[in-house]
Amino acid sequence: MMELTTDLKREMFWTMLLARRLDERAWLLHRQGKIAFHISGIGHEAAQVGAVFALRRGFDWVVPYYRDLALLLGLGYTPRDFMLALMGKRGERTSGARQMPSHWSFKAMNVVSHSSPVATQALHAAGIGLAIKRRGEERIVFTSTGEGSTSEGEWYEAVNWAAVHRLPVVFNVQNNQYAISEPASRQMAVSGAAERACGMGLKGVSVDGMDAPACHRAFLEVFDHVRSGAGPAVIETCVYRITPHSSDDDDRSYRSREEVEHYKQNDCLPRAEKALGLEPELVEELERKAKAMVDDAVAFALSAPDPDGPEAAYPVYAEDVRDA
């Protein structure tokens, strides 16, 4: 098993930290009435950096979902990008402020646009895998969803396609134990999403998603397997959604404060600090840097103009595409 270099450890931690601070700021902005909506990745960061730093970034393809802020930051998405999206301002890079925040798209890094209906993107990942295989390339496709989304027929069809055609696709299920209010036991009669794999004939792996180095190792292994042509895989990262589902949600009706507190004790960020062996001084420095970047991004986005209304008229067809 490959040892993590100091640089990589630092970058993984930095990405987690930046994601966390941006995410927290989003909640604050929402409380302040400055943004209308936020959907959070808090609690998912370790798993996402484990994945993204195991990818060949800019070479492999990524079909993400809305909680993947840390993953996107690892691919070069910036705090300013994120704040523009939260505020729906001109220059928003994923959709020109057409989509809600956290609906990623980043073509330069092979990150595909996704919609809100869950699990639909899994089929796109299979299609990309098909094209890669046809081209005979070494790339793989990474795609993610929550565990609730594995109940969708489209998720199953995608995994089944990939298994039948032995496509180079990694289906990551970020199992945070809830789909809005519904516990995982309302989605599946097996103990976790990795078990889903056995009915479809592909590799299934489950990993502690709060443990960044463990996630990184697990993803490296799975990516190697898939890249080698041995077929697709499902990899479940067991995390916990520390926040409500979104800024529209109130989670008190369906889970206890004690449960949430319990999982906060296992927060992946302090765990990563320890597991990755970051020096306290370095952490402090990174914290300062993160705060500065978040402040800058907020100020930048607040001062950015709104799009003009009539921009909504296009691009309906490829013929209408203009530069944003």
Binding site: A97, A119, E152, E182, P307
Partner: protein, 327 residues
């Protein structure tokens, strides 16, 4: 009469029907402990239990398909799709299965079931939490399609839908959930599925609308009235079966028609209303049939400015009324 919001009226209808008829079930995502993401089912799990208020797996086709099965067995399921934007995943179950069951079995099997979904824009929901989907279903014989515009109708029509022996698509204008308040009769009542409702009498022109756009149309009509234009407003309420008689009667009186919906123009429900008028009111029309709808774009953007540009609103409706009145 007590006043309440549209969403409260929906909840009351569900509550009363669950109490009245033990065959009624509620099935959907987060309808149980969470009480629905819009709180339409709040408190129902506690009152009626897990076997009647059922948190489904995250799979829309299954919400409708399981509802079909339960209805075959004699239940009266009310299936909730969390946002109309996600009903597309259940399209096959609605269109191939629910709509065609009675006909294909020559009446041996009928399906008393309701499929509810919040629809429409104006709430910052972006492309995938703002869609209008009524036109797809208003094209499908075997379905009934209902859209209430106010609390009284919401409660009365939903009760009628639950008691109806056919699959009823019940789309609720989510922007109006808390915005639209109104009086609701006490005691049990229902509003029949089928008839449109003339919500404002007028003589110069007719505005046909439903849902949130009906609410806006009334506002625009009041303003037009102040300007001396007498506008008749017709709340279509039931989109399928189409109430041709009410549509024709109004235009026979006014000679002019403006149709308003927030769904995009081409192939929208307004096309059917216009086509009926073009065929059956040829001699009555004093002006072209106008449609005021969202432009033909694939969604309502998240950006507030872009959202407002796409959505019809009272000002835009008033502008269309003025143009049509001048014709």
């Amino acid at each position: 009469m007590p006043e309440m919001t549209l969403i409260e009226a929906v909840r009351q209808a569900l509550d009363e029907e669950l109490a009245r008829d033990e065959r009624v079930l509620v099935i959907g995502e987060d309808v149980g402990r969470r009480g629905g993401v819009f709180r339409a089912t709040q408190g129902l799990l506690e009152k009626y239990g897990e076997e009647r208020v059922i948190d489904s797996p995250l799979a829309e086709a299954s919400i409708v398909g399981v509802g079909v099965g339960a209805a075959l067995y004699g239940m009266r399921p009310v299936c909730e799709i969390q946002f109309a934007d996600f009903i597309h995943m259940a399209f096959n179950q609605v269109v191939n299965e629910a709509a065609r069951m009675c006909y294909r079995s020559n009446g041996e099997w009928t399906l008393p079931m309701v499929i509810r979904a919040p629809y429409g824009g104006g709430i910052g929901g972006g492309i995938y939490h703002s869609q209008s989907v009524e036109a797809f279903y208003a094209h499908v014989p075997g379905l009934k399609v209902v859209i209430p515009s106010n609390p009284k109708d919401a409660k009365g029509l939903l009760k009628a839908a639950i008691r109806d022996p056919n699959p009823v698509m019940f789309f609720e204008p989510k922007k109006g959930y808390r915005l639209i308040r109104g009086e609701v009769p006490e005691g049990d009542y229902s509003v029949p599925i089928g008839p449109a409702h003339v919500s404002r009498e007028g003589t110069d022109l007719s505005v046909f609308a439903y849902g949130m756009m009906h609410h806006y149309a009334l506002q625009a009509a009041a303003q037009a009235g102040a300007e001396g234009i007498s506008v008749e407003v017709v709340d279509l309420r039931t989109l399928l079966p189409v109430d041709r008689q009410s549509i024709l009667a109004s235009v026979r009186k006014t000679g002019k028609a403006l149709i308003v919906h927030e769904d995009n123009l081409t192939g929208g429900y307004g096309a059917e209303v216009a086509a009926i008028l073009a065929e059956e009111a040829f001699g009555d029309l004093d002006a072209p049939v106008m449609r005021l709808c969202a432009p033909d774009v694939p969604g309502i953007p998240f950006s507030h400015a872009m959202q407002e540009w796409v959505m019809p609103n009272p000002q835009k409706i008033l502008g269309a009324i003025r143009r049509l009145a001048r014709f």
